[in-house]
Chain length 263, copies 2
């Protein structure tokens, strides 16, 4: 089996419907891909060290250690013990959130929808086999969630920029158990007001194939992010150059995503 | 004892030196004051529900529920179960952080100072009597910490804007045990490169005294925050009107602090 084939054949795969959560074990060096199958779907993501779940992915340590609030390609994600847990090795979008808590029952009560499916309970249920309950679900990374930060620190939830089959790939730097939920939020624009399915796949680590023919970078057409003004409210730069296409996905190879002009 | 006298006489007080942590119990309705005695000193702050420490102050729920990343007067602080824990009832500064993790041993190893005093261990030690260890210290609110957020999400630690005797007052909305540490960081500008002492006091809830003679608002003179540009990098507006002065502190009565022009 070639490295390339191993890259293309996941050793583990999960399909996640809105409101569902899944636990996925990932060993050191393996690659974890999280993909929005229809686009505009947020994946709430938490992770714990296998066999020592008091250590978990910490968004505050990750923000502090990277001196940045936006998860982006090349970034290392840290645990609450400030140990590296993941590296973001590919990202076809460049706009994600690590500020928001999971949606939960109280959130939906406030929105007039008691009993609504929610990420917090979905993740707790998915991770129950690891001894992790509702209170131990940490602050998540929300892949594909598009949160604008306005001039006085106000947060505004906007439609994700992620299109059909966009994804992120993480390399595990520890043996971890990850929890992923497809956010069922349909009352605000978190998921483009229409929650859809996610795919999660685990691959053996392998060198990525060399770039074949580089094509010109297409310009994004989504205008919804351009509204008011400042930080993280601007459109991201041109999409990364296309690397390869498969039946399943258009694959972009990205470096550090340039998210627009400094203001 | 008049309401006013009760307001002036704390029922519990702690003096905290840099690198120390203290646990303070606060009952529902009581007021918790955290004060920088020399100015420019950060107070790392965590809190747990008394008798049920699986519930704790959550910065991610607080950000989400307020749709804002900056703690400010009038804001409610929420637990990981999305229950109100505190209300910020006074704030003489208007610039605090709820993005950064506590400093910890690994942080100082990275800075070439292994074994340096740190907030994480100080809080764990202070809260050990409540069964809370190192791994259970949550993401803190960092009172008086001045973090600029630049255009692409970069975070930049700057000198606190807090001057001598500036403070915040929180009203407890639950019976809580709070942990407060005086950050000993002296290698970056977190504490103006010179960590100093904090005071923490608990007061019975009581109406604040009516404003006596209102004086003109002094204009802030600190220029260090004006540097590069965008969000949360601007100077806050004029200081709130002076309310009263005591031998111990100059007291400002603030409403919602206006933190500068929208960009």
């Amino acid at each position: 089996m070639s490295d390339l084939l191993s890259e293309k054949t996941p050793i583990r795969a999960r399909h996640i419907r809105p409101g569902q959560g899944q636990a996925v074990e990932v060993k050191t060096g393996q690659l974890l891909q999280i993909q929005t199958l229809q686009g505009k779907q947020v994946a709430d993501f938490v992770a714990f060290t296998q066999g020592d779940t008091d250590e978990f992915l910490s968004t505050s340590v990750t923000r502090a250690s990277n001196a940045n609030i936006v998860p982006q390609s090349g970034m290392t994600l840290y645990s609450n013990r400030r140990q590296p847990m993941f590296e973001i090795v590919e990202d076809t979008v460049g706009r994600h959130d690590m500020l928001y808590a999971c949606c939960d029952p109280v959130r939906y009560e406030t929105l007039g929808a008691p009993g609504h499916a929610n990420c917090r309970e979905a993740l707790a249920e998915a991770l129950a086999g690891y001894g992790l309950g509702y209170d131990r679900i940490p602050s998540p990374i929300n892949w594909f969630m598009n949160v604008a930060i306005l001039a006085r620190g106000e947060l505004e939830i906007r439609e994700p920029l992620a299109e059909k089959n966009d994804y992120v790939v993480l390399r595990a730097l520890k043996d971890v158990v990850a929890g992923v939920s497809a956010c069922p939020q349909d009352l605000v624009p978190t998921n483009g007001s229409n929650p859809t399915d996610l795919a999660v796949r685990v691959y053996r680590d392998a060198p990525l194939p060399p770039p074949p023919v580089m094509e010109a970078a297409p310009v994004p057409t989504n205008d919804t992010a351009a509204a008011t003004a400042p930080i993280l409210a601007s459109k991201p730069g041109p999409r990364p150059a296309k690397l390869q296409s498969t039946a399943e996905a258009t694959v972009y190879r990205v470096g550090r995503v340039d998210s627009g002009e400094a203001s």
